[in-house]
Symmetry: C2
Subunit: 133 residues, 2 copies
């Protein structure tokens, strides 16, 4: 699902290049039409994005917010307010995304029958009723 | 000490604006002649910087490395290799700095008689022999 939209997303793991373990920093490109992820919220892990180029649209419970270079957004763990970036423009979007690696994280997807648990440094996915995909 | 060099440094705590607690993200400006900090290394906390504008010089045990916009560097906890950015140019430098807030952190300053311990979310400073300042 959403495979075409996720195929237009490319992540370069900058933090991993330096062996960082406490948080990750990705330099992510979204081609026109691509999305950052399904709209989701983390229980334990904070997230932060900083726009370098292009004009992504941020979707949260409050609706659509247009972003441009130099703008940033933070997504505090436990808020329950799902977030997603969508490139609705005709040009590439480039942004930095930062997230920590707190254990015991759970992810709820706002608009889809999907949830995930962060166990042994891997996310495991299931339907919202807990049944596996 | 180094007061003039640190006065030319301005940090905007972007992550705190969104209530993030697991890591900090600062948008930091260095005026010409200003430094990011005394050269130092963390025992537990990872650090990462991404240059947005200007040409800071990175100092580590390997010496001086000129940086420019789009370049980044990560400083893995426990390496013991101290780092510092110095603005040796005539123009302002702007960069993002990210660091986590792992407890039990200790900081050793490479070139100065200074060390720090992260206790109760505050850094406490002392001489390298443990005596207080």
């Amino acid at each position: 699902m959403y495979v075409a939209q996720l195929e237009g997303r490319e992540k370069r793991p900058l933090g991993d290049m330096f062996g960082l373990q406490n948080f990750g920093v990705n330099l992510t490109t979204l081609k026109p039409g691509a999305i950052s992820a399904l709209r989701h919220a983390h229980a334990k892990q904070d997230e932060f994005i900083y726009v370098l180029h292009g004009t992504p649209t941020l979707y949260t419970d409050e609706g659509a917010t247009p972003l441009s270079p130099g703008m940033c957004a933070g997504f505090k763990a436990g808020s329950g307010n799902g977030h997603q970036l969508v490139n609705e423009s005709e040009a590439d979007v480039l942004y930095l995304e930062i997230g920590d690696r707190s254990g015991g994280d759970q992810v709820v997807y706002s608009d889809d029958d999907l949830q995930a648990e962060f166990v042994d440094n891997i996310f495991r996915f299931a339907h919202k009723d807990g049944s596996p995909y």
